[in-house]
Amino acid sequence: MNPFQLALINLKRRRDSTLVAVIAIALSIMSSGVLLRLYLLSGQRFSTLAHGVDAVVGAKSGGLEILLGSLNGEGDYPDYLPYVLFRSLRQGQTVQFEDGAQSTPDFIRKVTPFLYAAQADGARVVGTDETFIKTEADENRPALSSGRWASKPLEVVLGANWARNHSSSLGDTVSIHTWLGQTVSNDDYKLTVVGILGSTGSVWDQMLFISVQQAQDFLRLQDVSHRTIWGVEVLHYFLVNLKPGGFEHLESLINRRTVGQVVRVDEEIKRLQDLTGTGRRLGFLISAMIVLLGGLVVCAMLLARFDGMTMQLAVLRAMGYRKKFIFSWLVLEGITLGVAACILGACLDALSFPFFRTLLGSALPSPSLAQSSIFLSAPVWAASLIAVVLSIAVPAFKLSTRDAHQALRGL
């Protein structure tokens, strides 16, 4: 009988305690793995934020809300801004206020309109114009990888991920449903794909883009009178690129004298990181503790198991079995148990992770933007196997320091 056969027999015949050990270790591996993956995902929570914008103007609300609503495509349906204000900013026209004050926005380099108008398969459809895409001066904006910009009615440009996930190409038609407030309507509009954006690694990859005119036409189909006094002549955000030192002027103009609020993108991102940093550090601490506890559970389970076998090991020694044989038996039994628990734990991890991810909702990046491979849990599996091997160290130490006589006599 070789050590592996003995290990298998022992695992099989001590079925109840083997099952309890495997399930306990597997649950510990599952919870540690899920926590580790959630922690890693939380680090990517804002990695999908779009780049290439200095400031964003939105309806008055929180700065973070404007930032995430525009550059991360999340949150509730936003309030409107008047299109006329956008036009003034773009054309650098002098703005005349009721109190007689005037402002000439010559500090703006580029301003891009942004209006959520519809959804396609859960992804947001944005009304914007050609200033949205990459130019020589704005390297960080998305570029067209094929086709042209959507400038005519019923045309659409696709984000890279959306096109790939739906296997869409130029000339295909895409179904969209108009979106207003909490409601995504059941109406179905077919748009023709005229362009596909290159990948940016940001939320833009998951969106669809139409002309502002088309977006406002979709609004016109619905009753917006209770939402806006400007009819359909509205936008949700202005994405602004500024000349140096221009933010203070823009802030003074927008925040003090209009219905809008401007936020500086880099400042809001820093605020976001400060706010989430504490939570992440706490999350890391809790995850590390759970992984450690998991390791200890593994150790405790196996220690108890191997400790109960002290007399048997002594009998084998007395019968003339070498320490190496007995040590191999323990290691093989521990590793078999550990590997079985790892496989079960990984399966449970894979099965339960989507549930936990859904439970945390918007605290994590969307599954379409940030995948979480089961193999990210590999450090937990490795830690568990190390814990298994460590737990063998105690009986192995006893085996090497106590002679068979002492063990048999219980000394």
Partner: protein, 212 residues
């Protein structure tokens, strides 16, 4: 194989006084020796000494040509596996193994399935061969422990109270088979069971003899 112990003093851990001293003890090759004495004096410890399960701080233990006191722990294991069979006082069968597997565990190679089955038959526990030893009665376990030695047939057999948990008939069966297994071999039995005392070449009184 002759067993020779010389100038040995055994102490319990933490005790200053020796448990027992042996000036010289020779068990002739092929003899059958019974060692008797009250409990707690060190009879089992003496048997473990002969098997090389531990070494005293001083003294010689020689089994056949092998000087156990000069050998490493692993070398003593190898020697014991080939030459010495032990029946323990508390049986000490592996309870997750069947009776047959326990007997096979005592054999050097696995090919000896027939001799394992035969020895179980001799001890009248062949019908229990596939049962886990935990499910056997104490008497049946005792007979499996003896069958393990019978199958392995080592040159030296050391038995610690081999009939302690058996009724009269089974005690006689075990005694008979033990003697049969020990035919031409060296047998040392530690026991205070009167039923097993017949048939030995020598009977040693543990107390008298360790006071020499």
């Amino acid at each position: 194989m002759e067993i020779r112990l010389q100038k040995i003093s055994v102490q319990l851990p933490g005790s200053r006084d020796p448990l027992f001293r042996i000036r010289e003890l020779k068990i002739p090759s092929g003899s059958k020796t019974l060692i008797r004495g009250p409990s707690g004096r060190g009879k089992t410890t003496l048997l473990h000494l002969m098997a090389g399960l531990f070494l005293p701080p001083e003294g010689d233990i020689v089994v056949g040509e092998a000087e156990l006191h000069r050998m490493s722990d692993e070398s003593r294991s190898d020697y014991r596996r080939k030459n010495i069979g032990i029946i323990f006082q508390r049986l000490n069968l592996l309870d997750q193994l069947t009776a047959l597997e326990n007997v096979l565990l005592g054999l050097s190679d696995r090919g000896n399935l027939q001799s394992a089955q035969k020895s179980l038959e001799k001890l009248k526990v062949a019908d229990k061969a596939d049962l886990l030893t935990a499910k056997l009665s104490l008497g049946e376990q005792q007979r499996v422990a003896v069958a393990r030695i019978l199958a392995a047939s080592p040159p030296v057999i050391l038995a610690d109270e081999p009939t302690s948990s058996l009724d009269h008939d089974n005690a006689e069966l075990v005694r008979k088979n033990l003697f049969e297994a020990a035919s031409g071999k060296t047998l040392v039995v530690v026991s205070h069971d009167e039923r097993i005392s017949k048939g030995f070449d020598r009977v040693l009184d543990f107390d008298e003899w360790t006071r020499q």
